[in-house]
């Protein structure tokens, strides 16, 4: 199939396989910057950005490499947050188990929603994931354990593995950074494995992939569950950082935000979602006092990106450098 590069969503940048020197350098630069950052920038803000960056990377796994636009990814962020917050606060789980439990909740939801949604594609898929997300949202509004409008507040951060006291902001920061880097590398590994190759084959030409003997549905479902799991990891971590799990994280506006981050940073790029998340979180931080203008600015970014800037920041940079980033 000969097609111009940005004909498909997520195919804006052709994905080069194998680890490239440029990506290794970019990764090292990112890690160094993130290790140094808390000494210059407010750590809570950085942790928020890191959680969203992991969330966006998880989302990008689905849209960038399978070509499926999920408009309900907030479900996984939010439900994992509830899982982690509830298990830490009510059942007294230590942070490592709370995060694992929250992530497992998101993964389980990913299996259920994925199994139903994966049968469709394109706009149908976006609609269906959005509708399921809204269902989970209404459930969260009514269910007793989520605390409704109040959410689950003052979640204890606890001591990680009985050694690291997470009430220390800097300790917490490095734990969050480690979780982010772990998630980032695992997603990177998944994309650049034979599994990732098959995903791309399914994205480009599903009937052909099937005729080659690949069970496309299984691979898509697996990708969906992986994406949900990493989104959950981000959500569970976020709940411990902010000591709060609330309805905001399950609402469809959050699903829209992760689309925005990924689109702005560059769909289908390795580093794009991270950059996009940092830009959007920074913007929201500065615009927070302006109330409804945040929504307007987000809308404008969407429109500008879609009309003129479909490669996103990292996609454009990569294009200039002729490197896949």
């Amino acid at each position: 199939m000969t097609a111009t590069t940005d004909q498909y969503v997520g195919a804006a940048v052709p994905v080069v396989t194998g680890v490239s020197i440029a990506q290794v350098i970019a990764f090292l630069m990112m890690t160094i910057a993130l290790v140094a950052a808390p000494f210059f920038v407010y750590p809570i803000f950085l942790m928020k950005a890191l959680c969203f960056a992991l969330f966006a990377c998880a989302f990008n796994l689905l849209i960038g490499y399978v070509g499926l636009l999920s408009f309900g990814h907030a479900v996984f962020l939010g439900s994992a947050g509830y899982g982690a917050a509830h298990s830490a606060k009510v059942w007294g789980f230590p942070p490592e188990l709370a995060i694992l439990f929250g992530t497992a909740v998101a993964a389980a939801l990913g299996v259920v929603i994925g199994a139903l949604a994966i049968r469709s594609k394109g706009i149908y898929f976006a609609n269906i994931t959005l509708a399921f997300a809204q269902m989970v949202y209404f459930f969260s509004v009514q269910a007793a354990f989520t605390g409704g409008e109040d959410g689950i507040q003052s979640v204890p951060r606890g001591t990680l593995l009985g050694v690291l006291d997470l009430r220390e902001t800097l300790t917490l920061y490095f734990v969050v950074l480690a979780i982010f880097l772990l998630g980032f590398l695992l997603i990177y590994r998944a994309i650049h494995s034979p599994f990732g190759q098959i995903l791309k084959a399914v994205r480009e030409n599903e009937p052909r992939a099937i005729s080659l003997g690949y069970r496309a549905e299984h691979y898509k479902l697996l990708a969906f569950v992986l994406s949900a799991t990493f989104a959950g990891l981000a959500g569970a971590t976020k709940a411990l950082v902010f000591q709060l799990a609330s309805l905001t994280d399950v609402h469809w506006t959050m699903s829209g935000e992760v689309v925005l981050m990924t689109l702005l940073g560059g769909l289908g790029t390795v580093f794009g979602p991270v950059v996009g998340a940092f830009i959007v979180v920074t913007l929201e931080n500065y615009l927070a006092q302006l109330g409804a203008w945040v929504t307007v600015v987000q809308g404008v970014i969407f429109v500008v990106c879609v009309l003129t800037f479909r490669r996103g920041v990292i996609g454009e940079v990569g294009n200039l450098l002729r490197k896949s980033l």
């Binding site: 399921f132 987000q298 969407f302």
Partner: protein, 294 residues
């Protein structure tokens, strides 16, 4: 008198509310379906355009002293024209790309429009008076029927059926259906397809604005009135089958009624029942109840 242990009064009351909601679901999903049929995009701005319709009615009353009946006529035209401008200037550039970009673009517009209105008018509703001619109601013996609500149901049903008739039974509609099947071939026959696309988008958007005007006296005029509604309508569209005209109308009204009855028998599920039905329909018929396999 009771049916299944529920007083008939409550049952018919919820049936009425269900039919009212169903009217809005039907009008909105009909517009979405018409647009999807020709443009192949899901118009995420639909909820914002519904809200804009209600606001245009409010402005007409506040600034020009034009009442409900004028609003019913003018608001769909005004919002339809802004929709056509939007299509001509922006959406048109995306037809060659993946249709998901259209979804993202219209999502961006929805955020902008809702944000601007929210900035100007806050999140609380503005009251809009019911037209005098439709005030009051009548006692049907088994229930009390407010005139305005009866009007909404009858009028939206009439609009839906007229739309169905025009699309399925007239020459104009046959062009439209042909262009849905194969735009290149229809263009080769000398029909101006790009103009038809623009007009279709304007029409679909106009239907949303019409629903907004109808909703204004019932719900208040609120910047976020379309934000959550549109997601339910997306589910309605998925259940009915994207692009099916009759499917939208039938599932719209039907699901409104189902939702109303759920409120009587199992109120906890009333918000989620449509999504549950969607899940079941997807399992059994992935293309929707009235959809054709793509």
């Amino acid at each position: 008198m009771t049916i299944f242990g529920v007083p008939t009064q409550a049952l018919f009351g919820q049936l009425l509310i269900g039919l009212i909601n169903g009217s809005f679901y039907a009008l909105l999903s009909l517009g979405l379906s018409v647009i999807f049929g020709l443009l192949n995009i899901i118009n995420f701005t639909h909820g914002a355009q519904y809200m804009t319709g209600a606001f245009v009615a409010y402005f007409l009353l506040q600034w020009a002293g034009l009442g409900y009946w004028w609003a019913l006529l003018i608001a769909p035209v005004v919002v339809g024209i802004t929709g056509m401008v939007l299509e001509r200037t922006t959406l048109k550039r995306l037809y060659q790309l993946d249709h998901l970009y259209g979804l993202l673009l219209t999502f961006g517009f929805a955020l902008i429009i809702q944000g601007l209105f929210r900035h100007e008018y806050g999140s609380s509703g503005l009251p809009y008076a019911m037209p005098g001619a439709l005030a009051g109601g009548r006692n049907l013996g088994f229930m009390f029927l407010p005139n305005y609500r009866a009007w909404v149901i009858v009028f939206s049903l009439a609009v839906c059926l007229t739309t169905w008739y025009v699309i399925e039974r007239t020459r104009l509609g046959s062009y439209l259906r042909a262009a849905t099947e194969n735009p290149t071939l229809v263009q080769a026959f000398g029909i101006n397809v790009p103009r038809m696309i623009t007009l279709t988008y304007g029409f679909g958007v106009g239907l949303a604005a019409l629903a907004g005007v109808l909703a204004a006296p019932i719900y208040q005029v609120n910047p976020l009135m379309g934000a959550d509604l549109i997601i339910v309508v997306f589910a309605v569209v998925v259940i009915g089958g994207l692009g099916s005209i009759m499917g939208s109308i039938v599932t719209g009204f039907g699901l409104g009624v189902v939702e109303g009855f759920t409120k009587v028998f199992y109120p906890e599920a009333s918000n989620t029942v449509i999504f549950v039905i969607m899940a079941i329909v997807l399992l059994v018929r992935p293309t929707g109840l009235f959809g054709r396999a793509s």
